[in-house]
Symmetry: C2
Subunit: 215 residues, 2 copies
Amino acid sequence: MAKNTGVSLAVIRRLPRYYRFLEDLRKEGIEYISSRKFAELIGVTASQVRQDLNCFGGFGQQGRGYDVANLCKEIETILGIRRQTPAVLVGAGNLGAAIANHMDFSQRGFSLLGIFDTDARKIGQTIGKQTILDMQTLGEFCQKHHPQMAILCIPQEGAEKIVPSLIEWGIEGFWNFSHFNLAVSYENVIVENVHLGDSLLTLSYLIQERDQQKT
Amino acid sequence: MAKNTGVSLAVIRRLPRYYRFLEDLRKEGIEYISSRKFAELIGVTASQVRQDLNCFGGFGQQGRGYDVANLCKEIETILGIRRQTPAVLVGAGNLGAAIANHMDFSQRGFSLLGIFDTDARKIGQTIGKQTILDMQTLGEFCQKHHPQMAILCIPQEGAEKIVPSLIEWGIEGFWNFSHFNLAVSYENVIVENVHLGDSLLTLSYLIQERDQQKT
C-alpha cells in the first residue's frame, strides 16, 4: 500500500518520468530491474531512484530489483491514474485541438468529457470522437457532469474572464496553457501551468551558452 | 553587462517567467518596480527575486526598484533572445502544426526556417507563412541554411531514426516533444524535453491529494 502523505512535490514531479520508462519496460516484457539499471536508463543516480521510491514504501526486492509490473501499478495508484478525473477542455483553437488529439487523457488520469469554444464556426465540428460544444452551455454542462478539471487553451484575457465561473461551477484543478497567472489570483485552486515559451527560452539560453564556450 | 557564467540551471529556468511578467509591465507602461511588488506579482519571495537577479549583476536601484525596460533588455541578452537561433520543425502533425501556429518563435529566441514532414499529403501545404517541405530534403536544407535547433514533433520511433542524421547535419539543440530519451543516448547535445503527459500526471496527483484531504 502506498503511503504518500507529505511527499515533496519535487519527488512527485519525477514519478511521471519513472512511470513512462516503467511502462516501456513492462511492454517489452521485462519483469525485474535493479535500481542501478533503471537509474542508468532514465539518466538519474541510483540513490535518487531508491530515495524517491522509498518515500512511498520502497517496492524493491533484495537481489531481484524492482518488480516492474507491480511498481507500475503502485505508481498508478499514487498518481491517481485510475481515478479518471472528469475534465473539460476550454478553447478549440490550434493548441486546444492538438491537445485533444494528441493526449491520451485516460492513460494520464483523466476522462475528457467535453470540448468548448465560443467560435460559431467551430461549434458542432468534431475533434476525435468529441463534438465541439458551445461555451455558453458550459455552466449547464458542469452542473450536470461535474468535471473537476479544466484545460485552458485560450488567451490570457479569455482565461481571466472564464476562470471565476469555472471555479463557481466546481472546477478544482486547471491545466493552464494560457498566460493568466491563476495561482496568484486564486490561492485555493490547483494549477499546473504549461508555459511552452519558457521552455523555448531556456533552450535559447543553453544554445547561446554552448556557442560562447566554443569561442 | 550581464555576467552569466556558472549560473545554476534552476535560476535560468526562472528567468523566462520573470521575463514574461516584465514584458507585461513594460507594455502597461510601468517604468520601475520594487523587488517586493514584483515578487508578489509572480508569486515568489522578494529574496528569491533579488538573489536570482544578483547572479547576473543586480539591476536594482536603491529606492526606485528595478528599471523594467532595462531589466527586460538585460534578460533578453542573458537568454539570447536577440540571437534568433535558426531552427527547423520536424513533424507537421497535430502537435507540430499547433506549435508552428501557436508559438512566437522570434520572441523566444529562434527563427523558424522550415517545417518538414514525410507525409506526401502534407508536403506543399502551408502552416502560417511556411510551406511544409519534404523530409527527404532536410539534409540538403541543413547544409544550405545551417539550423542549430530542431523541434521534434514526431513519435519516439521516428525521433530515434532521424536524430543521428540531424546531429550529423549540425543540429546542436533539440526541443523534444517526442518520448525519445535523447539526452541519455547523445550526451553532448542540448535537449529541452516537453513531456505534456508528465505535467498532466502531476495534476492528477494533486487533485487526488486534495480529494483525500477532504475526506
